[in-house]
Subunit: 342 residues, 2 copies
DNA sequence: CTGCGTTTTTAAATCGATTTAATTCATAAT
DNA sequence: ATTATGAATTAAATCGATTTAAAAACGCAG
């Protein structure tokens, strides 16, 4: 039932020319006679010829494919609320440029290194879009510094690496300041794991905002969690048991913000009256819960688009003038942060 | 900076054998002498040889790759809440079996046909996992009946096609019956676009449940929407303007259920007292809103896993005994449907 | 030392396209 | 009629691996 595929050879034979001519004709090379070109095109059309990309790739030494590497760690899964948006942005641009998208994860942390190495060398992809993992993960620097075309979606310490970064520092600063502006002074920062750059940057932004507003940083208010709702809930419980006093929470993602809000409710505290809350990511759920969650919006789709544009540019030999791109986030103010409506 | 890749030729030269021997040695062919084998392996190890998959694919006529085709229609985007879970299930199994995952979307509806055709013929993927689109979409039957290895994630009318299906009929039946059991008799079914099989099946399930409970089907209670929150909200508004009386809503997805709940609230109606609501998909948000949403849980991760297992089996020449697989959904009862706590 | 059967090794073909360098062909100039 | 010139075509190499069929090397008996 499965019909054999039509190859260039078939086209050449039917058109009565050599494969060389057929190839050149289809490529629109000016050397081939107009009539011959038309003939070959007609035959190709009629036989529904589709070039075998594998053959083409082998010869051209490129696969017209970009791999999205998303390190598979407990904190970094596809379930990340905005992973899908990133994917959409990337996909959109790649499709426009006739690149394919290979999705790469690793079976387990153990063979992570080998798996990445393979991607880099087996030539299935010409370039890589790389999502950050823990700063302790030694595979990340290995990939970035391999010389393979990479767009890194985070901060990197060499400015010859092409990166797309969010302004995590600025976002955290803005969120913290918003809480301060609303009269809060004892602001808990519920951070993600501190071996993630994003967490570190947000802590910095938080601290800077405190300092600029002459509020002393209290280490008791810096609580490390794991991005999960459950742990945020538990953290609020723990703060209560330790009788820590606070009037606001800035959580490093919306899941934790939501978890914290549930914890607060369980303690009989109301949001935003007793405790104001701000999250990060601006996931859809935040808009639908009560009170609606104030959050830092991350333009993930835009980041995906930019990353794809950059890698395509690199692979098509264009010059990248500004290798580092910073996209700014914005605060979406809703009820949970206690801002008065004007 | 970018070092040239090590090829089999390099290994052969360093080991002082022919490429044939090198290849055979690495493949563990018993014809090659044990000492030679060890030598070649040592050299490959030392030079960090990784076979070029493109070359291998060309010769083997297979790419060790599966494409996930997700038709890009307004109702069918990556943003589909459980797309990510599907992806996780697929990815997990493919990685285990050393298959790569190619993500395919189409630039626009216009060149959809050409794009699919290309995937089928350019040999970048050996098999396809296909997500349903509108029943009017002529590309779907084209792909399914091409003879190319396909696992279709829906119902198909020939039983020689490998499918993984959800029990949409059963799910709708169960949801409707739950509402009836809770004393509701005028149940609105907020359906998705009726050119989708899933919508048709759910309408059937809904009708059957009504009939089995001796409730007459009222066409005025069947409202077609587009899966969006906004349109569900508007639909509730419209029902009100038309003075349609009802005491329950069964929505074809959670987004619409949530939109409907917002619409009801705007009209001053309370859920579940005035109107009981059940959705489909069991998205995370449903658990977090108030009242918490009763919903039909879809085991998307499981579906992804099964689909990947099937396609891998097909591509590795295994026999598929049961070509059609039905996974059952389950009702997750929360507050919105008005079930009394026991 | 020859001949025969085994083990090992390797030359060469293959997969499907692209591209270079060489060749053929037609036309115009001498 | 011959040659130079340019246009059009094609043979052959190439990309990197696998695999078949043939050759080489080896061991051992006669």
């Amino acid at each position: 039932m499965k019909k054999e595929n039509i190859t260039l050879k078939d086209i050449a034979k039917v058109a009565g020319v050599s494969t060389a001519t057929a190839s050149l004709a289809l490529a629109g090379d000016p050397r081939v006679n107009f009539k011959t070109k038309k003939l070959v095109e007609e035959v190709a059309q009629r036989l529904q010829y589709v070039p075998n990309e594998i053959g083409r790739s082998l010869r051209a030494k490129k696969a017209e494919t970009v791999a999205l590497i998303f390190p598979n760690t407990p904190h970094n899964a596809f379930t990340h609320p905005y992973f899908v948006q990133l994917l959409e942005g990337i996909s959109e641009v790649l499709v426009q440029n006739s690149f394919q998208l290979l999705l790469s994860t690793t079976p387990s942390e153990a063979d992570e290194a080998a798996a990445y190495d393979k991607i880099l060398r087996n030539r299935r992809a010409d370039g890589i879009i790389l999502w950050p993992a823990s700063i302790k993960d030694s595979n990340i620097p290995k990939i970035i510094e391999s010389g393979f075309p990479v767009v890194y979606l985070g901060k990197w310490h060499h400015d010859d690496i092409v990166t797309i970064q969010r302004d995590d520092f600025g976002g955290a600063y803005e969120a913290t300041e918003q809480l301060i502006r609303n009269g809060r002074t004892r602001i808990v920062h519920l951070t993600g794991p501190l071996d993630y750059q994003v967490s570190i940057d947000r802590v910095e932004g938080y601290k800077q905002a405190l300092q600029d507003n002459k509020i002393l940083f209290d280490p008791a208010l810096l609580v490390e969690a794991d991005f999960s709702r459950e742990m945020a809930d538990a953290a609020v419980q723990k703060l209560h048991e330790e009788s820590v006093r606070y009037d606001a929470i800035f959580a490093a993602n919306d899941r934790m913000a939501i978890g914290a809000m549930r914890g607060l409710r369980a303690l009989g505290l109301s949001v935003p009256q007793d405790v104001a809350v701000i999250g990060c990511d601006n996931i859809e759920t935040g808009e639908l819960i009560e009170p609606a969650l104030t959050s830092i919006h991350q333009p993930m789709r835009e980041i995906g688009r930019l990353a794809a544009e950059r890698i395509v540019a690199m692979l098509t030999g264009q010059d990248i003038t500004d290798k580092q791109t910073m996209v700014s986030s914005s605060l979406v103010v809703r009820e949970s942060c206690g801002t008065l409506k004007n």
